[in-house]
């Protein structure tokens, strides 16, 4: 395998955990093949050199940020870097940027592409690897052989652990060429909390909440935990909660460490978006609710009594732990 190119972004000058994990992923692959892990940073940040700590052998940074909405411009720049630097694999975290460009990039590199890879590759050959990803809404995992002179992978959260054994490295600046074909008119960030796709703790409400005015108890629990709020589809469809909170097959698929489902029955389409969560807690008054079958912990009873009690217990725990 030739060199590994890891493409990551900075947000408000910082890197997200998913980006750092991609660097560590790139380093692991590079180590097993004796190649270099080259990281390209898109965004304004003074911290690019610190990526050496997570495994970057070389760090490159665009001299000005390229809007990820301009999928052509970003693809062309990455493709050029890949060919100059003898790259055999491009990796990036699976996020809105990757969604726009991995397919494009793989066509440009005349190579295969896999979305949402879950683990380090196996069977690494000079022009192919085997990776795994979740399919059928989390109901199965597929092992996929992907080949070509420059394979493109986007990574699910935790595809690799963070490794911090390296040192700061010097940053090389890459001149961005070409004009823009896409105009970004406006950027609306709608939530102050960690966005759902990145949240490690999620508190979610369903139709069992009865009325949007009851959401205070969900907010309180989320606040106490430092969690992000989510909801089931009928809740979003009836405008009790904003659409960006809708999780499930037709909403967002998430993979938090903890998912607390409150007054949600656990329909298969809902589970499709949440059953990759590490730990699932279900609070429901119906002992036959299907969600209990997919849960790690279940609490059977009236959510209007249980949720405030849970919030108190969390507060008590946080208080005694600080």
């Amino acid at each position: 395998m030739k060199n590994i190119l890891v493409a990551i972004e900075s947000f408000n000058g910082e890197f997200k955990k998913s980006g750092l994990q991609a660097v560590s992923y790139g380093k692991e692959v590079a180590l097993s093949t004796g190649a270099s892990c080259i990281v390209i940073v898109n965004g304004e940040t003074s911290k690019a050199g610190s990526l050496g700590i997570y495994g970057a052998d070389r760090v490159l940074q665009f001299n000005k940020p390229i809007s990820p909405a301009d999928t052509q411009a970003l693809t062309n720049q990455l493709a050029e870097l890949a060919s100059i630097n003898s790259v055999g694999m491009i990796v990036m975290p699976y996020n809105s940027t990757a969604r726009g460009i991995t397919g494009r990039l793989s066509i440009k590199m005349k190579s295969g592409c896999v979305t949402g890879v879950q683990k380090l590759p196996t069977n690494i050959e000079s022009e192919s690897v085997v990776v795994s990803r979740s399919v059928f809404a989390g109901k199965a995992t597929a092992a996929i052989k992907v080949s070509g002179p420059c394979i493109v992978l986007s990574l699910s959260p935790n595809a690799s652990q963070l490794k911090t054994s390296g040192n700061e490295v010097a940053v090389e600046t890459i001149e961005v060429k070409g004009g823009e074909t896409v105009k970004v008119v406006e950027s609306k960030i709608v939530t102050g909390r960690t966005p759902l796709p990145e949240a490690e703790l999620v508190v979610s409400g369903g139709r069992g909440m009865k009325d949007p005015s009851n959401w205070g108890i969900i907010e309180d629990l989320a606040e106490a935990l430092g969690a992000t709020t989510a909801c089931s589809r009928p809740v979003a469809d009836s405008h009790w909660r904003p659409h960006y909170e809708h999780v499930g097959q037709t909403g967002i698929a998430i993979k938090p460490n903890l998912y607390i489902a409150i007054g949600i029955s656990g329909a298969i389409q809902h589970l499709a978006g949440v059953n990759n969560s590490k730990v699932i807690v279900v609070i429901n008054k119906d002992p036959e609710a299907p969600f209990f079958k997919a849960a790690d912990y279940g609490v059977c009873g009236d959510l209007f009594e249980i949720v405030p009690r849970l919030t108190e217990a969390v507060k008590k725990f946080k208080h005694s732990n600080t």
Partner: protein, 246 residues
């Protein structure tokens, strides 16, 4: 305005998933296939809305075997004007994208819409690949779209929000939830669909660069541990000490 909508067939969500031939192949016995919801509910309906507003035609294209024609007829019944079926069973997004780009390349579509992903393999790559093959701009996961004066104005879903974009046509866009409201075919639509044109195109010969070697089912959950509703501190303790998630 000339619009192309890519439509795919996926197993109904409630399907029980199983595999055959040493877990190397998806077992389609007894599986009910449906139109991929993102294609049907959002991409197709948005195309119809744009046609109603600006005039033009809506063509649907599907890469798949003859057994999938009822799904193509359904898209015609909902309101598409005509349909193309590329007669092959693709084994990857790469193959699908090549077949569609090959057909679309000579047709001068101003807008090519796909769903954000198929709900079975969920790769969300076809639109992105088509755009590169045709050297067009691409927007992934657009939750709103309007066309004004030759510009596509759309919302792109990003982490924790949306970005509003303006792009000159032609463009390739993938549709996520919010782009349109589902429409149900009525009796008249179903009758008319029977006589709408469905062109069959023979595929380009293709070799894919991804292949599924095997499938595995996730490990079964250990079973739920029920916690008494009066003992929420016990739940918190387990989450902290046993699972280490808080």
């Amino acid at each position: 305005m000339k619009i192309l909508v890519c439509i795919s067939a996926t197993p109904d969500t409630t399907s029980k998933i199983s595999f055959k031939n040493n877990d190397s192949e998806f077992n389609t016995d007894g599986i009910q296939f449906i139109l991929n919801p993102y294609d049907e509910w959002y991409a197709l309906v948005k195309a119809l809305e744009l046609k109603e507003k600006l005039g033009g035609t809506v063509t649907v294209i599907h890469v798949g075997p003859v057994q999938n024609e009822p799904m193509i007829r359904k898209a015609l019944a909902i309101g598409a004007d005509d349909a193309v079926r590329v007669n092959s069973t693709p084994s990857s997004s790469y193959e699908t994208a090549h077949q569609i780009a090959h057909y679309a390349g000579s047709q001068n579509y101003e807008l090519i819409l796909s769903g954000k992903e198929t709900i079975d393999y969920q790769s969300g790559e076809v639109g992105s690949m088509i755009s590169e093959l045709l050297t067009l701009p691409y927007v992934a996961f657009a939750s709103q779209l309007d066309i004004q004066n030759g510009l596509a104005i759309c919302n792109r879903d990003i982490e924790g929000g949306v970005e509003v974009l303006e792009i000159k046509l032609p463009v390739v866009i993938s549709a996520s939830k919010g782009m349109a409201e589902q429409r149900i075919a009525n009796m008249k639509g179903i009758m008319m669909a029977k006589s709408k044109p469905l062109v069959i195109v023979e595929p380009l010969p293709m070799a894919s660069n991804t292949s599924i070697l095997s499938y595995s089912l996730p490990p079964a959950k250990k079973g739920v541990k029920m916690i008494d509703a009066d003992h929420m501190d016990e739940l918190v303790r387990m989450l902290h000490e046993h699972d280490k998630v808080i």
